[in-house]
């Protein structure tokens, strides 16, 4: 549309001033106004002229609560800040200081358990790394290295296979893939001896027999750090 036509510009300004424009047209017109001073002037004339339609309306006394409502909206919110206290009385500072101390404390505590005692990278049938396992004091941190889509009726179960012994279940792989598998005391004791870790495909809920029933997907040796 050619907005330079005088007639059109006048008509648009008039429409806008009356309020006839639908929202999209209004936005477009406001955009035009931004860098068109002459159009703003034209609109100003119309707005002045039309505003005088309200000039004959009777004034109405305004109840006091309106002013109270306005004041409540425009007054800066009063903050209930108590009179100045020594800085150590400042609750927020104190809380921040406590948080720092706590964080340090927890950090120190956590550090004791926080290093993985064993690592294993399990490989799939084609010898590609498929699953990283870190053993901590009472849990295993597992992290898939490839994306695997399991049917909802299936689950992956992790087994410890002692040299020359039967596989012992360590638990199911987390549904989300990455996650933790908690270890019982017995399981923790197992992991002190050299062993192989394996993941088998099982029905949802894990092997019904206590031994792997499905194919072994990944396996690898647990290495002491």
């Amino acid at each position: 549309m050619n907005y330079q036509t005088t007639t059109l510009r006048r008509a648009l300004a008039a429409d806008y001033a009356i309020g006839l424009m639908p929202a999209t047209a209004r936005k477009r017109f406001e955009h035009l106004l931004l860098d068109d001073a002459a159009l703003r002037t034209e609109l100003g004339h119309w707005q002045d002229a039309l505003a005088s339609l309200t000039g004959t309306l009777p004034e109405r006394p305004v109840p006091d609560h309106v002013w109270a409502g306005i004041k409540a909206r425009i007054e800066p919110q009063v903050l209930h800040v108590p009179a100045k206290k020594p800085f150590w009385m400042n609750f927020r500072l104190l809380a921040a200081a406590c948080a720092v101390v706590l964080a340090l404390f927890v950090g120190v505590l956590y550090q004791r358990d926080n290093t993985a005692q064993y690592n294993a990278t399990l490989v799939n049938a084609s010898q590609q790394p498929a699953l990283r396992i870190q053993a901590f004091a009472d849990y295993l941190q597992v992290e898939p290295l490839t994306t695997v889509v399991l049917e909802p009726t299936r689950a992956m179960e992790l087994w410890a296979v002692p040299a020359g012994g039967k596989p012992i279940s360590l638990g199911l792989m987390p549904d989300s893939g990455k996650g933790r598998i908690p270890l019982s005391k017995e399981q923790q004791a197992l992991l002190t001896a050299p062993l192989t870790l394996a993941v088998s495909l099982e029905p949802r809920g894990g092997s019904p027999t206590g031994q792997p029933t499905g194919p072994v997907l990944y396996q690898g040796a647990l290495a002491t750090r």
Binding site: G44, L53, T56
Partner: protein
């Protein structure tokens, strides 16, 4: 703060200063010369000036809000919101474009129209619906009742009945062209041309 000293009397006394404009400004009730500095002070965060402004124009804006809403509770809500906006947007008022009163009336009117549109979307109870619908004749009664030599009213008189009616109804109800056509039970094309020709004629009249 000298802005508010003796406002009400100063108000009317100074109120007829000629304005250098091609268009005669029909706004004269509340004089721009007094309101402009008040708005400027509001833009600087002067609460006293704001209160003075409120005291001097709120009855008029309340009248405007009531004309649109037709119910005192709704009118008061609109009025309150309008003043909150006036306070926060005072720095955006551009004195060279429109008279202060125009600016404030427009803020009030836009808020009122937003509310009306909301209410139109959710149908009102019967009584309220009537109150909204039958207010176009009262607009004319009010316009007719005060035949002052105000430029716009004089110029409105030069329009055909339907031209005048479509402009005033659209103005006071915030109707789009098609809603206006429904409201006036007239074809959309006719409504558009009434408005177009009416505004052209108004313009010529105001410029003369």
């Amino acid at each position: 703060m000298n802005v508010q000293a003796g406002l009400p009397s100063a108000y009317r006394a100074q109120s007829r200063r000629p304005r250098s404009r091609a268009w005669r400004s029909p706004i004269s009730i509340h004089d721009a010369d007094l309101l402009r500095p008040l708005l400027a002070q509001c833009a600087l965060g002067n609460r006293q000036a704001f209160e003075t402004l409120y005291r001097s124009v709120s009855p008029r804006l309340h009248g405007v809000a009531f004309r649109f809403m037709g119910r005192s509770d709704l009118a008061e809500e609109v009025l309150q919101e309008a003043f909150v906006r006036i306070w926060y947007n005072a720095s955006r008022y551009e004195p060279h474009l429109a008279a202060p009163m125009t600016w404030m009336v427009n803020i009030t009117r836009n808020l009122a129209i937003d509310q009306l549109r909301k209410h139109r979307e959710q149908p009102l109870a019967d009584g309220q619906q009537d109150a909204l619908l039958d207010d176009s004749p009262s607009a004319h009664e009010q316009l007719d009742s005060e035949r002052e030599a105000r430029a716009l009213n004089r110029c409105l008189d030069t329009l055909d009945g339907m031209q005048r009616q479509s402009i005033t109804v659209a103005y006071f109800q915030g109707l789009s062209c098609s809603e206006l056509a429904d409201h006036l039970a007239a074809p959309l094309g006719s409504v558009k041309s009434w408005i177009r020709r009416g505004m052209e004629r108004l313009r010529r009249c105001l410029e003369s």
